[in-house]
Amino acid sequence: MAKNASIYWNPIMETMPREKLRELQVKKFKRIFEWAYNNSPFYKKLYKDAGMEPGDIKTYDDIKKVPKTDKGMLRDVQTRPPFPYGDMLAVPLQDVTEFRQTSGTTGTPVYQADTWQDWEWWAECWAYILYAQGYRDTDRMFIPFGYNIFVAFWAAHYAAEKLGCEVVPGGVLDTEARIMKMQELKCTAFGATPTYVLGMADTARKIGIDPRSIGIQRITCAGEPGASIPTTKKRIEDAWGAKVYDHIGATEIGAWSYMCTAQKGLHVNDAFFLIEIEDVDTGEIIEEPMKNGKMVITAFDRMAKPCIRFDSKDVIRWADYDCECGRTFRIIDGGVVGRADDITKVKGVLLAPTAIEEVVRSFSELSDEYEVIVTKKGDIDDIMLKIEIKPGFEKQEAEILNRLKDELRVKTNLGYKIEVHPYESLPRYALKAKRFKDMRPH
């Protein structure tokens, strides 16, 4: 227990035996349930309607009976007072110090309220992440992020400060200026979406800077699944000569998962969150490894707008391996492998957009950008993949396309029309990329 304490942010929690962690989770679930029941009109009604009250939570199995919440509910509460958060709020409005909102990728943005304590909690969750990824007080971390209305790397900034890192906010700078500042200051680490990390490497080369020469040792990716897709992760590591670590979190949930320096799957922070994986068809909770299901998640310590049994629609699976780092926090394999509302049927075949990314990014002759457009012609689905071939490989176009078609067919069981676009003509993204466009009438 607590061996090699220096690799853990909190050796007591991170190496706690799993049966004790489970016991802790039940106690903490009961605590947040009681808090929400007593302080949030939304939760009180939800639980009363289901015939449940705090005393009903005694065992892990009792948790499964608690009604779930979903994004539709989060949007719906916003139509009721107090403005703008709605009656899910469990603290007086004057205690709220932080406003953030979701990106609105799947609909109306959700407004998120946090008290100062909640904000400390965000930074604490991120401290577990950064410390596990090797960040120390000797690091100079650059944050190439717009410091805007989205939570994104705000909490990473505060966590890095908590660790004692020197934090350089790259807010309003453009990409070129950010790269030059990182080079000038000899930054050792930064965090961004995988799309932007790749875009930064491209820009660096364009202005005559080899990204590998900057001296970046570690990069924390978030916002997209890329850093858990082996071919994308390899591209980033090759481009920057740095280790790349994935992290998963969400505005309405918190920062719940992270890759450690062993880079083997992602740990879930079992001390601060309860992650349940639900079988999409049966609704049963999946305990066995390597079986996909959608995540239902509880944040134990987020007080202003509690997140209890939130149906995230993220598709994840438990790993069938342990991590050599010694953490007892459970591991999910491959990060978020899809979205329950994102895996779509094309020509009758289930398709996860991440599978296309894995194939495209495995081709070193292709640029980092691509786009997938699904349309319907008559009764038949049509799937078009737009790609860019890197300069110098144009003459091999026919051979590249044949190989790409073959590999896509093997990986996704689908045939694609492929369109080659001029290098750097497809859209570039600074935050979450929208590369999969389903244009079929629904």
Partner: protein, 59 residues
């Protein structure tokens, strides 16, 4: 679990910080600079509780 750390002793000190915060609040009366800085102190203290005191839930 984690026997090299004395959880009870650390927790007792954390509770002392909370008690001290209450006393400072009482003594500070309506001084905003005291009230608002105590919000921050309490938030940090809460993180200590989440990291350490919560272990007592399963000891």
């Amino acid at each position: 679990m984690a026997i090299k750390y004395n959880i009870d002793e650390i927790d007792a000190k954390i509770q002392e910080i909370k008690e001290a915060a209450k006393e400072i609040e009482k003594l500070g009366g309506d001084i905003e600079a005291v009230k608002k800085n105590l919000v921050r102190l309490r938030a940090s203290t809460k993180m200590l509780e989440l990291n350490i005191s919560d272990v007592k839930l399963v000891m």
